[in-house]
């Protein structure tokens, strides 16, 4: 683990990515304590106040401090995206590994159904689910998780099929080990690398999907300070107060880049092929 971390940090993309992630994590943990204002405090006189000493990043249409909203909003943006990805990845991983373990016709049936579900694009699936479950961040998490699961199942399964053909799995089957042991102890740990890489990159997709759902009015709901919602709200005032659009967009972009960098870094660090 530490060895992996060192290898990750040795690459520029890994280093920058980890640095950015640390910053984001700090915002999630201490954002609300450090924010200069209450995130929902409205101020009639401060509407669309330009960035300055009062509001470092300016104020929005309610006169709310954008910096404070960003700092507090980190907690309702990044962890939710993270949870959605985690749940989706975990579900997909179990389906993928289970399908690869079962093999044969069961595997075929599971994967074909999985492929069929993948025929519904992720955003559409999320929209349908959110419409069914009702608007809101919690339901958006579920919707994104469900939308991610088939893709993850596919990635996992192809990795798991390799593992399934490894002799140590055959040895375990020949030994008479139970399905639970084989799936969770023999196979899953060995497909973790692709799952972790894929999931890390997908966190950035989740942040984006969240923002898009908020833009379409079905994600986070006002007065939440979720970043995507902030961007979507600010968009209609972008000619009056461009800072309202720029600041949360930049936050989203940085988060997405951070997860992408770490994902790519992990891919390289876990793949010694490049090192001679």
């Amino acid at each position: 683990m530490t060895e992996l971390f060192i290898r990750l940090m040795r690459r520029p993309q890994g280093f920058i990515g980890v640095l950015l992630l640390a910053l984001i994590a700090a915002a999630c943990l201490f954002g609300s304590a450090l924010a200069p204002y209450a995130p929902e405090k409205i101020d009639f006189l401060g509407r669309f106040r330009a960035p300055g000493w009062q509001n470092w990043l300016g104020a929005d249409q309610f006169g709310r401090d954008i910096l404070s909203r960003l700092m507090v909003g980190a907690r309702s943006t990044v962890p939710l995206a993270f949870i959605a990805t985690f749940v989706g990845s975990a579900a997909g991983a179990i389906i993928g590994v289970g399908s690869a373990y079962l093999g044969g016709r069961t595997d075929e049936a599971i994967m074909r159904t999985n492929d069929a579900v993948m025929a519904i694009p992720g955003l559409l699936m999320a929209l349908l689910l959110v419409s069914t479950l009702g608007n809101g961040a919690g339901n958006a998490v579920i919707a994104i998780a469900v939308a991610f699961a088939p893709g993850m199942a596919r990635v996992t399964r192809s990795a798991a099929l390799n593992v399934r053909n490894q002799d140590y799995v055959k040895a375990a089957i020949a030994r008479g080990e139970g399905a639970h042991w084989i799936i969770f102890r023999e196979m899953l740990p060995n497909v973790m690398a692709p799952i972790v890489i894929e999931s890390t990159i997908r966190v950035s997709f989740a942040v984006m999907l969240f923002a898009t759902l908020s833009f379409l009015g079905v994600g986070a709901q006002p007065p939440a300070s979720e970043w995507g919602l902030m961007v979507a709200d600010a968009r209609q005032y972008m000619h009056q107060a461009p800072w309202g659009l720029i600041a949360p967009s930049a936050a989203i972009a940085l988060t997405a880049i951070a997860f992408n960098l770490v994902g790519d870094g992990l891919r390289d660090a876990l793949n010694p092929k490049d090192e001679r």
Binding site: E40, K41, I42, F44, R47, Q61, F62, S131, G134, N135, G136, G217, V218, Q221, P222, P223, R235, Q236, Y237, M238, H239, Q240
Partner: protein, 515 residues
Amino acid sequence: MLSVSRRLFLAGTAIGLAGLPRIAFAEAPKRGGVLRMSVDQAASVIHPMQARVNPEYLVTELLYSNLTRLKSDMTVEPDLAISWEPNATLTEWTFKLRPGVTFHDGSPLTADDVVATINAILDPKTASPGRTNVGPIKEVAAVDPLTVKLTLTGAYADLPVALTYLNARIVPAKVIASDLASLSTTANGTGPFKLASYEPDRRIVVERNPAYYDPARPYLDRIELLVYPDRTAEASAMISGEIDLLLTTTPGEYERLVKADGVKALRTPSGQFLNINLGCDQKPFNDVRVRQALALAVDREATVGFVAGGYGTPGNDTPLSSAYHFYKNIPLKKPDIAKAKKLLADAGYPNGIDLTLVASDKPSTRTQLGVAVREMAAAAGFRINVQTMPHATYLDQVWKKGNFYVGFYNMQPTADAIFNLLYTSNAAWNETHWNNADFDKVIDAARVEADDAKRTALYAKAQDMMNAEVPSVISAFFDLLAAQRSYVDGYVLHPRGSVFRLDMVSLGAGAPKRA
């Protein structure tokens, strides 16, 4: 107007009105040209009896005509009817039809068409929203080919106004008899334009009706109606000259449009409002003090800023704005947190109260109002959780059922219409269940009162009652905002929000040539 006799006031006549443009031009409007305009929402229903939203009202107005037409001062002018006359008790009305009017297919307009149309609207099977809005009609009969008599269930002074209702477009009797549903995809009206192509989510094209009853109008050869769902992109299209007219825009875009070259930004005060409906038959809002406390916690001037971007007028908890007749200018309620706190404590909530305010996601101003009220009322002890939901879910689960939610209403043509729509005990959408018998009596009296001064007094009383008892908090009215290229002549932004009169529009100098 006040000096004219009662009979003259209520009756209408076409003499001297028909064919006269509402605005005097230095030169006669130029004929010809193509107007390209945009709406932010598809006109997905062109069936005149089933249209529900402004783009749909626009299309049916282009293709059809009513008996009467609402002017921008909210009075009535003749359309297909050239004159009308009530009986002494205001329970029977006789309408004279304009001679020589033909439908798009060439068949002549007769009294039978009017009878069939009104009967179809009143038929519950048609499921027309107009059914409760065209007036208390009991019976409709053709007296002769150009005379229609409407018998009402009771006295009603506003019938000519009610007949301007957006679903009361006259359609041919033979279509009603054979296949009324065909009007969902085809059109056969008496309007100034004919339907040329219909792709609801992309573009609707109408062309001049050469057989329109007014030979001078319409001025335009063709109108192209484009669907631009994104308001920001729509405004950009206006600024770059892609479109000539956009029907409605947001305060943010309006400010950009005001500054743009070649663009004339339009603005008019209206009676369109957001209200916070309080269920007066349930705890906690069955206690008038709680309602009053909330009303006192809201800063109305600030609400106009937050919700309408400053483009609006403050409201005083009555649905009438200065755009209405019979509007009474009551001094604006000032926020008084201390008094609100006391009222709340008196009502049994000394430690404040927890509430969930539901707002549908369309239009987004509903949520904005919720967010603003939440923050403003917090000081008085209201701990409000704003819950946003999809409009469809809201309609299904909350609307008319909830006891604390944000409503949104267009301006109605008359005071009677808005009171009877929302606040009387037998209102079509009695959301608040205020059920105030005294109030009902005042409205009923005003409805049959023909004397303008007495009516004014009655409606003033009604407004005072609402202001005092607060069945719903109405803190802001919106101005309607729109924009046009400066070469577009004759377009007037109508405060009703759903009347357009594009037959009056022409293209002046500098208009681009469009094929």
